[in-house]
């Protein structure tokens, strides 16, 4: 790591501590855990730890969007349909009350059993899903409601009709709508942050990641199939492109890491939801009350800075 990168990392860590996105009654122990994380980061995250994140992010018992909605939002009303063609159930949209204020919510939704998985298309949205998301973003903007997005998808659906209905364009326009929004937007990667399907709803003022979530440009299997010419080399691919939360933080892609209960979010849904709720509240409170123009400008400036080049 170059001196400059070290410095950048230090700055980010300092910022993270100041944000203390860890909130709640167990603050001190959480901070302690974070310190341990940071120490580990200095020692470099191991390939095994990266792969463990991949497994935990995909864990069959991991809480999904609606598990969090149930625990964090009151009076939730789900909104259905893109007003054009369909209601894509891989993406849930709606409105509810979060700690005293009305918020809009957009989140990918995976299924628990085979029937629901099929119905939710494994959390892989069609363009119709992203059009529904855009409609809800615009609704949030119109009424001044803050927007939460929860990202959990292997990727946008790769199918014939998805292409015919404009998957690429829908993902591009969804990001463009987010770049225009004048209301606070907080996103959290709660499982798999898979590529275009993820970023389509993650152009936010604050982007968080749960401790064991992953965020990546391609699936480890996909990357392995192309670069190693063998999908079986997924572990090597993951180790090489580093989709874990700590690396995302280090690279300046996310603003904070949300802790999970010991063992992972699947081990205790209530505690995972409590920790996520604290983090969302803190992140939202940082940007709430900012004038729309300033929000927009700063959100764009933040993404303008992303990338490392020579």
């Amino acid at each position: 790591m170059t001196a400059e990168e070290q410095l950048r990392l230090r700055e980010r860590l300092a910022k993270l501590k100041r944000l203390s996105l860890l909130g709640g009654t167990r603050l001190s122990s959480d901070l302690e855990r974070l310190e341990q994380q940071l120490e580990r980061m200095d020692a470099e995250v191991t390939d095994e730890e990266i792969w463990r994140s991949v497994e935990l992010a995909r864990h069959a018992d991991r809480p999904y969007t609606l598990d969090y909605v149930e625990r964090l939002l009151e009076d939730f009303v789900e909104l259905h349909g893109d007003r054009g063609r369909a209601d894509d159930q891989a993406l849930v949209t709606g409105m509810g009350r979060f700690r005293g204020r009305t918020v809009m919510l957009i989140g990918h939704q995976k299924g628990r059993d085979l029937k629901e998985r099929t119905q939710r298309n494994f959390g892989m949205a069609y363009p119709e899903g992203y059009r529904k998301a855009m409609r809800v973003m615009e609704l949030a903007g119109r009424h001044g409601f803050p927007l939460f997005t929860l990202v959990d998808t292997p990727g946008a659906y790769p199918g014939v009709s998805a292409e015919q209905h404009g998957q690429g364009g829908a993902i591009a326009r969804s990001q463009a709508v987010m770049a225009r929004l004048g209301v606070p937007v907080v996103s959290c990667i709660i499982g798999e942050g898979g590529s275009g399907g993820a970023i389509a709803i993650a152009v936010a003022d604050r982007v968080l990641m749960q401790e064991n979530a992953i965020y990546s440009v391609i699936s480890p299997e996909g990357c392995a199939a192309i670069l190693w010419r063998d999908a079986g080399e997924a572990r090597k691919a993951a180790a090489a492109f580093k989709p874990d939360a700590l690396h995302s933080l280090e690279l300046g892609v996310i603003d904070g890491i949300v802790p999970e209960p010991p063992g992972g979010a699947h081990a205790d849904h209530d505690e995972a939801a409590r920790l996520l709720g604290e983090a969302l509240e803190l992140a939202l409170s940082e940007v709430e009350g900012t004038p729309p123009d300033v929000l927009r400008r700063e959100r764009r400036a933040k993404f303008r800075r992303m990338g490392i080049y020579a």
Binding site: A172, S195, S216, S219, E221, G307
Partner: protein, 285 residues
């Protein structure tokens, strides 16, 4: 299965490969006609026999579109770094060095100011032969600078894309080039600027899912593959029978995703007409 899917790739996914890998780059893949390089270059790399569009190097594209002597390159010094110290079967740095050597380009995109039929404009042209035209931090940065230069000078931006998508070797930073370029186009639009997006073969994945799809006008070259996911992956993932024109420009036109399909020989006059229509003199009457 969901796990085995690929939605961003730098591979060529659709080229019919008759004699596997043996075809000379100047032999037409659809009719077998063979050309000398100067011959092909002077014909805008379009097959005289069957009209097949060969890939067009960025420098040739610029030479064709810009009025002679008007192109001034910008941000030529922006190069890729290797933030992840990425190593697959070969180190990323080695792949970059090789691409530079083979193409004579510093990156998969060239940007700069130009005039087209005397209309001042900004040009941004991608080159598929540089690591599959993949978009990493440097490509994203240069596209953003092209947007900024166009906005600042109040001239239209003409973007020509040819890309397999995001550059895997830069991991999540490549994915961040999607919102980065989208935000830049938003800024350009808010400043009253114009983006004309020309999609050449192939414009897929991360590039299709970001700035390329945000053109005020979107044009495509005949038979260009314009799909978020390539046909091979769709086939593998869904086992669906693919239509013959899956993802091609013609299919995109039919489904309403592009404004026009233009043979390369007709592109320049078409762009000229658009630039005239968007020009301030015309707007103010």
């Amino acid at each position: 299965m969901a796990e085995s899917r690929i939605d961003v790739s730098i591979e060529r996914k659709d080229e019919p490969q008759p004699a596997e890998g043996k075809r000379h780059p100047n032999t037409c893949p659809s009719c077998g006609s063979h050309y000398r390089d100067e011959e092909l270059s002077s014909a805008l790399r379009v097959c005289r026999q069957c009209g097949h569009h060969f890939p067009m190097p960025a420098r040739e594209r610029i030479a064709h579109l810009a009025d002679p002597g008007t192109f001034e390159e910008e941000a030529a010094d922006v190069r890729s770094a290797d933030p992840l110290e990425f190593f697959d079967l070969r180190p990323y740095r080695e792949r970059l060095a090789e691409a530079e050597l083979q193409t004579g380009l510093g990156e998969a995109i060239v940007i700069g100011r130009a005039r087209l039929d005397r209309h001042p404009c900004e040009l941004s042209v991608m080159d598929f032969s540089f690591l599959g035209g993949s978009m990493g931090s440097a490509v994203g940065e240069k596209l953003v600078r092209a947007c900024e230069s166009a906005a600042e000078r109040r001239v239209p931006l003409i973007s020509v894309t040819a890309s397999g998508g995001a550059r895997m070797q830069e991991g999540i930073l490549s994915l961040m080039q999607l919102p980065k370029t989208v935000c830049a186009v938003e800024e350009l639009h808010e400043a009253g600027g114009v983006l004309i997006s020309v999609m050449a073969h192939p414009t897929t994945a991360g590039v299709l899912a970001s700035f390329a799809s945000l053109g005020d006008v979107i044009l495509a070259e005949p038979h260009a593959l314009l799909s978020f996911t390539g046909p091979r992956v769709v086939q593998q993932t869904t086992r669906e029978k693919l239509p013959d024109d899956f993802g091609l420009a013609e299919s995109n036109y039919r489904f309403g995703h592009v404004d026009a399909i233009l043979p390369r020989t007709e592109l320049r006059p078409y762009l000229s007409r658009l630039l005239r229509l968007f020009s301030r003199e015309h707007r103010d009457g």
